[in-house]
């Protein structure tokens, strides 16, 4: 490889790049490494490989002062960091907690940034302007081994394989394999108890006949008269489950009040291929122009939380699935494949909104067993 070194004797005056993007190469020519041949026994270089001093001592001295200034600045900044840590209180003892935190963050962060950047800039000045510029070349050794070494390696492998008897004794080999594979599968088995099996739990929610709709936040039941502002949408949850996230992740419902005549929910059944025909949407499931839909988007389960009053569109802010609230939350746009399931509602003896039953189809995203 050393024959390539001859190519590298290029004088500095010729190394004037036409155009330099990024880091310009050091001004000096390429030095070959006299001590870096292939030969194992080559003597160490008689000449120094890299020069000891910068060819421009005046400039180097000036840059040394700049670097020293930066290193001093860094030290001071570190002292400032400690001072800010000790001196600036956080928490809400003196006024606003966010302000106190941001004050402390500003002081600590500025000190840390200056401490780090000053060291970094100082070191770059050190290596680029104080140390002697140098560019050296090193030969690449072939990565492939010599044929003899490869042959010897193959021989070693084959010798070992023969001595291990594995090549001659298939019974030993096969039974060992049969023993190892189950062991490798064992870790998967022991992960079984990470959770219960899904069963049919994704098919139903806690809504049942007579469950009251309570307003999310206040947890108060609601009557149609309470919710008498057409165009409004509120989020309701089944009574008694305000603190149960697993229940709310499926059972959260939005109710929407419309002007008389605006609701045009068709009577819609499922296709009945996989079971009896079930009713999926009905005007009979509304009360006083109030309709209830699952809030869980049928795409990947985000809450479909945005409602446009003028057009009666329900929008999921995650992926913009859009549903038409007038016609049974049918899909107008976006990646959701199905309407938001409608919750059958009515009023109970005390006049509060209650569910007539659970949803008639699974809520939320598609899953394999949904059918």
């Amino acid at each position: 490889m050393s024959d390539n070194d001859a190519d590298l004797e290029i004088g500095p005056e010729e190394r004037r790049p036409h155009r330099v993007i990024g880091t310009p190469p050091p001004a000096a020519g390429i030095l070959t490494d006299p001590g870096r041949g292939d030969g194992e026994d080559e003597a160490p270089a008689a000449e120094p490989w890299i020069p000891a001093d910068n060819p421009d001592p005046v400039s180097a001295k000036n840059w040394e002062r700049v670097a020293a200034l930066l290193f001093t600045l860094s030290a001071l900044a570190s002292v400032g960091f400690v001072a800010a840590y000790v001196g600036l209180e956080i928490g809400n003892k003196n006024g606003d907690v966010v302000d106190a935190t941001l004050r402390s963050n500003l002081a600590l962060g500025t000190a840390l940034s200056v401490a780090m950047l000053a060291i970094g800039i100082g070191m770059v000045i050190w290596v680029r302007y104080i140390m002697p510029p140098v560019e050296v070349s090193e030969a690449r050794h072939p990565l492939a081994s010599d044929p003899e070494d490869r042959a010897a390696f193959a021989e070693t492998i084959l010798e070992g394989a023969a001595a291990s008897q594995l090549t001659k004794r298939p019974l030993l080999r096969r039974t060992l394999l049969a023993a190892v594979l189950p062991v490798a599968a064992a870790p998967l088995i022991v992960l079984r108890d990470l959770g219960p099996l899904p069963g049919t739990s994704l098919r139903s929610t806690v809504w049942k006949k007579g469950t009251r709709l309570t307003v999310y936040g206040s947890n108060q039941p609601i009557t149609p008269a309470d919710f008498n502002s057409p165009g409004a949408m509120i989020t309701v949850i089944p009574e008694g489950y305000a603190d149960n996230d697993e229940v709310l992740a499926k059972a959260t419902v939005i109710i929407i009040k419309m002007e008389p005549g605006q609701l045009k929910i068709p009577t819609r059944y499922n296709d009945g291929v996989n079971g009896p025909h079930t009713l999926l949407n009905s005007m009979n499931w509304t009360v006083d122009n109030i309709v209830a839909y699952s809030k869980i988007c049928t795409h990947v389960g985000c809450p479909a939380a945005l409602y446009e009053q003028t057009t009666h569109k329900i929008l999921c802010p995650c992926h913009q699935s859009t549903f038409d609230a007038e016609t049974g939350a049918t899909v107008l746009f976006g990646p959701a494949p199905r309407p938001l399931p409608q919750l059958p509602i009515t009023v109970d003896a005390e006049g509060y909104l209650v569910a007539q039953s659970d949803f008639q189809e699974p809520v939320g995203p598609s899953f394999w067993e949904r059918g």
């Binding site: 390539n4 970094g120 869980i296 913009q320």
Partner: protein, 574 residues
């Protein structure tokens, strides 16, 4: 460049003694000396990988600090801490402890913000580093393994980041986890089981923060550390590639020695990266978890956006049509499966097999230690830009609601356009990029042949004007010229001397490979100038793979320099 004053260097006695004691035990003098004198080439793009490395170290440092205060538990508490706006609110311990880190631990907010920024910079640097490797062909033999290791780290980094920003259990992070659950449910056959095992039952359950935590702080960082070590070891062992230039060949490395030059430079760069991340953590607020409150499946904040590296998946989920199949009592959610999992798999599969596809197509089995300029591999560069556009459109669509609001474009129009653009855009990008590359090659060829325009106008004796040109210097030529290995450039005629199909083109596989070969190596191969001047088009201007004089058979037919798409090429008419 040898120095004239040569004074012998003397190791101080105590150091010599210590060194001797160490070498007595470790036999290290020779090996360590080799390492100290190792030459590292220099180019600004080589710093991209270092940014990723140092971000990773800073992630570990700040991450250790955060683990000392973070409580990875979903047990419910009622908050009574410093942040009075959430006083009395029911939340998980994870969220409460994140509030405490932010408001009650000095420097806690800074560490959180540096940690989060470092994660974003880590992945951004990985993506830029990956693009650099791709567009300069640095993944070619012998570095295919390191390319695959890099892809593995990229994948792990994406998951690591997702797990990390899911743990505070605030409204935004919980929404991301909910989407992940929706994606898991969409996996055929095992989806519901995977979801129930991950969450310990129905979403959200009481388990996932603790499980994400141990994967985030132990499992994936351990894997990443191992892969980083392997990546760096292979880089040192195989030696770094270098950019084309004077004195740089396939058989050497030109640069600065590790000790002391590279060590100081890279050390400085660590402080730079740390300093810039500290600046970001100080002045650029990121993930202010106290603003949106604890997670509840009931609510969501508008404009929910994941971290940037999940953006392309978010975008593909947004633009993919709502296709599902109900077959035999089972639901196949194509609307989730394809955008979230198939596209992710597709992207990484293409990246993973690319070096081998290129090797198969070009038939190039030689070593490559000098990188290519992107223009000198027009097909690869075109494919790369197609990928960038494909990814970029989906990534932008991940913020389509914000784009719609700020640019006053109707949201649905934007999504509809993206649905087509994601297919058409990459094709256009491929074609344009390829043409630009070939155009740049032509400029290089012209420069080598005619010299560099100086901008000096001279009046000729006959009164005319002409621009003075100077010949290309050897250094400039060294940056322009690239000699592909013979295996790439050998002429592959459609027929042999007897008019029968050439051996390389026999059979279906042969025909496909030959066509791919022609397409990949199409373009100009620039020969070195003779005596500082060039041979002109006679040898280097012609044809797709014929050059250096022995391309005459074909160069007559494929006269155009870097002729267009294969459809209008002479070999199709033959």
């Amino acid at each position: 460049m040898s120095t004239t004053q040569h004074r012998p260097l003397q190791m101080p006695k105590p150091l010599a003694k210590q060194g001797g004691e160490l070498d007595d035990r470790f036999h290290a003098a020779k090996g360590v000396r080799t390492l100290l004198r190792k030459v590292f080439p220099d180019h600004w793009t080589f710093l991209l990988g270092e940014i990723a490395l140092y971000s990773f170290i800073i992630l570990i440092l700040t991450g250790i600090f955060l683990t000392l205060f973070f409580q990875p538990s979903m047990s419910e508490v009622v908050y009574h801490g410093s942040y009075t706006k959430l006083d009395g609110v029911r939340m998980s311990q994870a969220y409460a402890s994140t509030l405490n880190i932010s408001f009650d631990v000095r420097g806690g907010l800074l560490m959180r913000q540096i940690h989060h920024w470092a994660a974003d910079v880590f992945l951004a640097a990985i993506i830029c580093h990956l693009l650099r490797i791709f567009f300069t062909g640095a993944y070619r033999k012998p570095r295919e393994t390191n390319w695959l290791i890099g892809l593995g780290m990229f994948t792990l980094g994406i998951f690591e980041g997702f797990l990390g920003y899911s743990m505070p259990d605030d409204l935004l992070s919980g929404t991301g986890v909910r989407i992940a659950e929706g994606v898991l449910l969409g996996i055929p056959v095992v989806g519901t089981y995977l979801s129930f095992f991950l969450f310990g039952g129905q979403f959200p359950g009481n388990e996932f923060v603790a499980r994400f935590y141990i994967i985030h702080v132990l499992l994936i960082p351990g894997l990443l550390l191992a892969l980083v070590s392997a990546h760096l070891f292979l880089m040192v062992h195989q030696k770094h590639t270098q950019m084309p230039g004077a004195g740089r060949t396939n058989n050497n490395v030109v640069g600065q020695p590790m000790y002391p030059y590279f060590a100081i430079k890279t050390g400085a760069f660590f402080f730079f990266v740390f300093g810039v991340l500290a600046l970001l953590g100080t002045f650029a607020q990121i993930n202010p978890i106290w603003q949106v409150g604890p997670y509840t499946p009931v609510a969501i904040s508008a404009g929910s956006q994941p971290d940037f590296y999940m953006g392309f998946l978010e975008g593909s989920l947004r633009i993919f049509p709502n296709w599902t199949w109900d077959i035999g009592g089972h639901t196949i959610a194509w609307n989730v499966l394809i955008p979230a999992l198939v596209i992710l798999g597709f992207l990484f599969t293409v990246l993973g097999v690319w070096p081998f596809v290129e090797r198969w197509a070009t038939g190039d089995k030689s070593y490559h230690n000098v990188n290519q300029k992107p223009r000198n591999a027009p097909t690869r560069t075109g494919v790369g830009m197609a990928g960038v556009v494909f990814y970029g459109i989906m990534w932008l669509e991940g913020a389509n609601d914000l784009i719609a609001v700020h640019l006053q474009i109707p949201l649905y129009t934007l999504t509809e356009v993206a649905r087509y653009a994601v297919f058409i855009g990459p094709v256009i990008a491929f074609w344009i990029t390829r043409r630009i590359c070939i155009g740049l090659q032509r400029r290089d060829a012209a420069m080598l042949e005619h010299g560099v325009e100086t901008g000096i106008i001279q009046q000729l004796p006959n009164g005319g004007f002409a621009e003075a040109e100077r010949p290309v210097t050897p250094e400039e030529a060294a940056e322009l010229i690239e000699l592909p290995p013979p295996s790439v450039t050998e002429v592959r005629s459609d027929t042999d001397e007897n008019g029968l199909p050439a051996p390389a083109r026999r059979g279906l596989a042969g025909r496909v490979q030959a066509r791919a070969h022609d397409y990949f190596v199409e373009g100009i191969s620039l020969a070195p100038p003779a005596n500082g001047h060039t041979n002109g088009h006679g040898t280097n201007g012609h044809g797709t793979n014929g050059h250096n004089g022995h391309g005459e058979v074909e160069s007559g037919e494929r006269a155009a320099i870097g002729s267009g798409p294969s459809g209008d090429r002479a070999d199709d008419e033959a």
